[in-house]
């Protein structure tokens, strides 16, 4: 199966071809079958390939294949050897986790979509986009060099744009007046900024090391990377800016909340589980580089931690069910980056995986809620839906507990590992910020749960009366994801817990991933020994913070009606600030867009009056000349003949005199 890994991105592409070319003539059933089928096939191939990979000895778990040369190049940089960039695909422990997550979660969401999109127009178009996304995401994670990854990187960006703007004819956000198409455009443009930095980073890499191959770059850096320290820092930061765009980190996070304009399965698949994690994946992929550029890692850690708490505060006041989840996603991505920034690579990937499970589940649950209420998204108009949507409620609460980091659900283990990584690497401030945001996460997630599922319904009555549980196609994926959210963390039980309670280290995940990532030697604080008791204490502390968050949420939104309003009243400036998302959009508008528009207007005016004026002047001159020359156009052939003859005579006279 290993030899077939190139099939993994191609399979969804086949779905694109079939549905794209014949989708309009096929029945919805057939379209859905093909759309899900190809992803299932990709999942099976992936599973087979990973199984085969796991049978190899630990240090040989790497397989690379090429579909041929893509860009042949001359000698580049210091290497002096002829370089060529192949269409290379590689499978190693890191990408194996990614493809399993992508195809697995992707498949569940595809199945879910069949139910969710049942009544929408453009059914085939939706699955074409989704399949294309799968193909691109798999290209991204399987690419053996940065450029192939970049193809997938851009491809998923395109699909993201297409899917955000899927309902291109509908309005989206009343506050900013965006339409769905605008939201898509915003996502695309913000991503461009990041991609620009990414490309520059790549160019630096290839001109310096003569290769973009992950292994080649890693080898080059290990071999003589320290000589290029400044460059490595620069490249690290540039690539991280690219990751910021894709993974919605400060300052480029603004597109992700608006990306909720897309259909909910899209939010679940692209804007929660897979695409937005591409940045994390990429950073971990380049772990060797970052290990040699601690300054870049510091930047990542700071940005990640800031994003985590920053987004969490915005999540507290959001009222749109999907926006809450979106901010939560941004926050959790911040977590992952913080983990990567402190050198806890496996923790970042571990959290990436568990997050994919429970965040996808949350989104799908939210989708189910929305679906059940015929499109209502405002949580202030919901309440008491527990009875109407039992399956959704059960799965949703599981995911909420998981994201809050309650033992023994998946989130607990991954979050704990990140926190421990932050503490143990000496980044105590990062630890503090992350712990606080963990509490906030627990708070806003339970706020959401309470507002949606408990209390009295606050919307229109007939909506509540007609609210219904979703079809099987939607609930079954929910249940599967719920199960994963529960057990998903158990493959990464921290060594201290395993040793203490099970007598051995059962952190399978860590050992699986270890050969694929750099040991973060050289990063500050690593290697320092900490006692098991400290780890237990921190674990307990984190759990306590999460429980405290839940408790506060319970008090405010469950026990005392109206307390939320009075708190908001008392801390009005903070509330208003959070409510308006720190005015970041407005800030960008004022500092970037306004000057840009002004410049554009200036050049538009320049174009209209000067450039067009020149063009028009040409026309006017031609017209006047024409009017004059018209007088010579008598229409009498003999006049022309006479002039012709005059010319002949003139030439002859000239020739005779010369």
């Amino acid at each position: 199966m290993l030899k077939l890994i190139w099939l993994i991105p191609i399979l969804p592409l086949a779905g694109v071809a079939i549905n794209g070319l014949f989708g309009k003539r096929l029945s919805r059933r057939a379209v859905g079958l093909i759309g899900c089928g190809v992803v299932l096939a990709a999942l099976l191939v992936s599973a087979g390939a990973v199984l085969e990979l796991s049978r190899l000895p630990e240090d040989a778990r790497y397989f690379e294949t090429s579909l041929g040369t893509w860009i042949p190049m001359g000698p580049i940089g210091d290497s002096g050897t002829m370089t060529a960039i192949p269409w290379g695909f590689a499978l190693d422990p890191l990408s194996s986790i990614m493809i399993l997550v992508v195809t697995g979660v992707g498949f569940l969401i595809h199945v879910y979509s069949v139910g969710y999109m049942e009544h929408e127009d453009g059914f085939a178009r939706f699955f074409v986009y989704m399949n294309l996304f799968m193909a691109m995401m798999l290209t991204l994670v399987l690419g053996s060099n940065l450029l192939v990854t970049f193809v997938g990187w851009e491809g998923v960006g395109l699909c993201s744009y297409l899917l955000i703007g899927f309902f291109y004819d509908r309005p989206f956000d009343a506050r900013t007046g965006l339409s769905c198409a605008d939201a898509g455009r915003k996502a695309f443009l913000v991503n461009r900024i990041g991609d620009f930095a990414f490309v520059i980073g790549m160019l630096y890499l290839i001109t310096t090391f003569g290769t973009l191959d992950y292994r080649g770059v890693a080898a080059a850096i290990n071999g003589g990377g320290d000589g290029h320290h400044a460059l490595l820092v620069a490249v690290g930061i540039l690539l991280f800016i690219g990751a910021c765009g894709k993974s919605a980190q400060i300052p480029l996070y603004v597109w992700l909340p608006d990306a909720m304009a897309g259909p909910t399965p899209v939010s679940a698949l692209i804007h929660a589980a897979t695409m937005v994690t591409a940045g994390v994946y990429m950073v971990v992929r380049m772990s060797t580089l970052y290990a040699h550029a601690p300054e870049a890692m510091a930047v990542i850690a700071v940005v990640g931690a800031l994003t985590a708490i920053f987004a969490a505060t915005m999540g507290i006041t959001a009222t749109d069910i999907k926006k809450v989840l979106a901010y939560s996603t941004v926050s959790q991505l911040g977590y992952m980056f913080a983990a990567a920034g402190v050198g806890a690579w496996t923790a970042a990937i571990f959290h990436l995986m568990t997050h994919a499970f429970f965040k996808a589940l949350l989104f799908l649950g939210a989708g189910s809620v929305i679906h059940g209420q015929h499109g209502e998204q405002d949580i202030t108009k919901m309440g008491g839906l527990r009875s109407k949507l039992p399956v959704t409620f059960a799965t949703f609460i599981t995911a909420t507990l998981a994201i809050a980091g309650i033992f023994p659900l998946a989130g607990f283990f991954s979050k704990d590992e990140i926190l421990w990584g932050a503490w143990s690497s000496g980044n105590k401030i990062v630890w503090g910020v992350l712990a606080l945001s963990a509490g906030l996460t627990a708070f806003y997630m339970f706020r959401l749960t309470f507002l949606v599922f408990y209390g009295k319904y606050r919307g229109e009555h007939h909506t509540f009366d007609h609210a219904h549980e979703s079809p099987k196609a939607m609930t079954v994926p929910l249940m599967i994801l719920a199960a994963l959210s529960v057990v998903g963390g158990w493959i990464g039980i921290p060594a201290v817990l395993g040793k203490t309670f099970l007598g051995r280290d059962v952190n399978v995940f860590h050992h699986w991933l270890a050969p694929a990532v750099a040991s973060a030697h050289g990063a500050p604080g690593f290697g320092a020994e900490h006692g098991a008791s400290l780890e237990f204490a921190l674990m307990g502390l984190a759990l306590a913070i999460a429980l405290a968050g839940i408790g506060v949420a319970f008090v405010i939104y469950r026990k005392r009606e109206g307390m939320a309003a009075s708190i908001a009243q008392r801390f009005r400036p903070i509330y208003v600030m959070w409510r308006n998302l720190y005015w970041v959009d407005e800030f960008y508008e004022a500092t970037i867009l306004k000057p840009f528009y002004a410049t554009s207007r200036f050049f538009a005016g320049f174009d209209r009056f000067v450039i067009d004026g020149l063009v028009n002047a040409t026309g006017i001159v031609a017209d006047i000349t024409g009017q004059l020359l018209k007088l010579f156009q008598t229409g009498y052939v003999r006049n022309y003949a006479l002039v012709f003859l005059m010319g002949v005579v003139a030439i002859l006279v000239y020739l005779a005199t010369v």
């Binding site: 018209k630 156009q633 008598t634 229409g635 009498y636 052939v637 003999r638 003949a641 003859l645």
Partner: protein, 100 residues
């Protein structure tokens, strides 16, 4: 003996007369005829050159010019006939649809 220069001057005069005809006549066929006159003036010059050089080239050129004139007459007259059928005249001044 004849002075070749005289023949050539005669040819030039005939050519000029043809030119004047083309410039002043109004009937399409008359203009065609004047063109024939010019062609013949050219031919006369060719024959003179042939006689001067003693070779066959210039004569063969005349041969080609004649063929060309025949083709020109056939096509030109066909056009005139088509024109006449369409506009009821062969007066080139009346045929001014494309003017301005």
């Amino acid at each position: 003996m004849i002075d070749p220069r005289l023949v050539l001057v005669l040819s030039a005069v005939l050519l000029s007369l043809g030119v004047v005809g083309v410039l002043t006549r109004r009937g399409a066929i008359s203009i065609l005829m004047c063109v024939e006159l010019m062609l013949n003036a050219g031919n006369l010059a060719f024959i003179t050159f042939a006689r001067i050089n003693g070779g066959p080239e210039a004569q063969i050129f005349v041969f080609f010019v004649m063929t060309l004139a025949a083709a020109e007459a056939a096509a030109g007259l066909a056009i005139v006939i088509a024109l006449f059928r369409l506009r009821g005249t062969t007066d080139v001044d009346e045929i001014n649809l494309l003017k301005w």
